[in-house]
Every structure is written in C-alpha cells, then in structure tokens.
Symmetry: C2
Subunit: 164 residues, 2 copies
Amino acid sequence: MFFRLFNEIGIVEQLSRALLEARLPHGLTRPHFTVCNHLIRVKDGQTPLDLARAFQVPKTTMTHTLSGLEKHGLVELRPNPEDGRSKRVWLTPAGRAFRDKAIADLGPVFDDLAGGVDPGRLQAILPALEELRVFLDAYRSAKTGGPPRFGLAQVGRKRDPPRT
Amino acid sequence: MFFRLFNEIGIVEQLSRALLEARLPHGLTRPHFTVCNHLIRVKDGQTPLDLARAFQVPKTTMTHTLSGLEKHGLVELRPNPEDGRSKRVWLTPAGRAFRDKAIADLGPVFDDLAGGVDPGRLQAILPALEELRVFLDAYRSAKTGGPPRFGLAQVGRKRDPPRT
DNA sequence: TGACTATAGTACGACATCGCACTAACTAAT
DNA sequence: ATTAGTTAGTGCGATGTCGTACTATAGTCA
C-alpha cells in the first residue's frame, strides 16, 4: 500500500513538474518558480538557509537554485546586516513579473484540471498529505540523530563509503 | 490551492525517496528498486519501453536505469524474439533478492509510519491521487498533439532554442 | 582575549534526468 | 521489392540534485 502511495506521488510529481516547466521561459525550472512564489507569498529578505529549510532541500541545492535565479536577474542576494556569514534574498521586479506571468500562464491549465478532476476531492487530500510530510520530516530528524540539530541541509542521506 | 497540493506532493516525494534510498545498498536508487518491484509485481520480460511508459519517464532515463541494474547483476536484457528492435528485461535471482531485502528493510519504517499517521487516511487519498495522475497523463498527451502517438518517451517537454 | 565549537554559504565531484540526434528494425503502400 | 514513415533503443551533452570538504563568521566559555 505504501509503495503504491509513494509511487503515485512520485509520478504525479514528475507530471506536474513537466506541466509547469513546459510553461516557463527556457532555462527556468520548477524550483526557480517555487522559490519566487514563496518569496512573494511569505516574504522576501529571507536567508538561503531559510529557503532550504522551507523546501526541504540541502543547502547546496538552494545555492544552485538561487544562483540560477540571480543569473536571470530574478533575485538579488545582499549581505545580511545581522549576520556576516549569511545573505538575504530579495526579489527584483523581474522576479515578481516572472512569477506573476507563470501563474497567469497556468490559469488555463488549472481550469482544465478543475474541469477534469473534482477540486474538492483534491482539496480533501491536502491535510493527509501534510500530515505525511510532517511525519516524514520528523522521522528523518529522529533517525538521523539527536535534537533539531540544524537547518536540514545535509542530513540523513547515505554516506559514500571510502572508494576501494 | 493547486500550488500547495503540488508542493506537498513534491516534498513528500523528496522525503520518501531519501527514506528509501538510505536503506538501499550503495549505488542503487529508488528507480532501481521500483523497477525491480514492478517486474515482480506485474511480470518480467517486458520491454524497456513498457517500463518507461509504466513509470512515465523518458525512454532515455529508463535505458540509464536499466543499465545500472544490469551492471549490478539485478536484471538481464535479452533480445526480443518478436521484435528485433527491442529487448526484454528479466530479473535475476539477485534482482529478486535485492527487492525482497529492500522491502524487508523497510518494514520497520512502515510500522513506524503506520504508528504515526493513520493508514486509513493515507489509503483514502489513493483514489484521488490516481485520478490526478491519470488526468495529468492524459492532459499531457492531449496537449502534445494527436492520438496516443507513441510510448511516452520524448514529448511535451520544452525544446532548446538554437544556441545563439 | 584566546580557544573551541557551531553555523552560513560555496566549490567541487558524482550521478540522475532528460532532450536531441542517430541507427536498426518494423510497417505500410505501392 | 522499393520506398517512406514509424518505432525501440542508445550515445551524448546539458543541467538538476546532493554529499563532502572547505572558508569565514558567530557564539561560548574561560
């Protein structure tokens, strides 16, 4: 049962990602969009590590994603006046426009989706998914070792054995 | 709403993947496991393209996954007597053992999961997920162009513009 | 102040994913 | 049989993801 569940989730993830990226400008991926979206929905000025935590990705992955966004002029990384080690991520006008346009372009897709699948039914699975996500996150932390530890970043993955 | 849904799905996908791969032998990934599992649950002797369709991945990705499985001696690729272009994928005893051991190793995880999240609740979201998956798959085909066309493989993704 | 530890970010390498282009083989129409 | 179009699989290159290791800065404690 769990296998089927995770399998369905994996396939939906692939398909939804392809659906989104087919509608983004060339060179921009779902993470780029989701980060911009997050910076608008929540707030910008967060640190890269904040974002890595929010999306449950290693910080190296977030560095990579942000560098892509910066290269496209969608965000700006400025030093964090409160902490010399870290930076803060700010959206540029282009970044906001990019996000708005992506959402607009997805409108028809969501309309079709709402026509083909009962939105209420999808809405209804959100709490269970969220519960599952929270459990998996906590489970990883629990199994990884001690307390909250740190930001997420590099934990709990498998370790390369020394090359023989 | 759809964003939140796909976001949760994406995160659950990442976390479940990490959870699984942390319990697999080094060098083997979730696709390796899921393919072996599929070959046992459904049947082996399928063609690589059958598998690519089943997992909704491009055929090049399946080639890569199968070559990894073959390198580890978990599957065998033999010519397809009915079609000189294609091959058939057969599990080796090692492949079956690998799948069985992975499932056994995941037992405790699933027990914990069943303890932390109501399994009935997860079970209940399966039909909606499946419906969503079927819709997304059909939608991609519909938008991509005509009829069933081909196997899945390389479609509907964005095209690289000529390098300037 | 100095020493030790913890944290933020990055450079780098390994590898997975996937689009493009190509070959070989099948199919259809004549 | 010839030819054109389609399909199965792969080589290759580009890029996303992530673990390891490193640097710079903070924080803690004496």
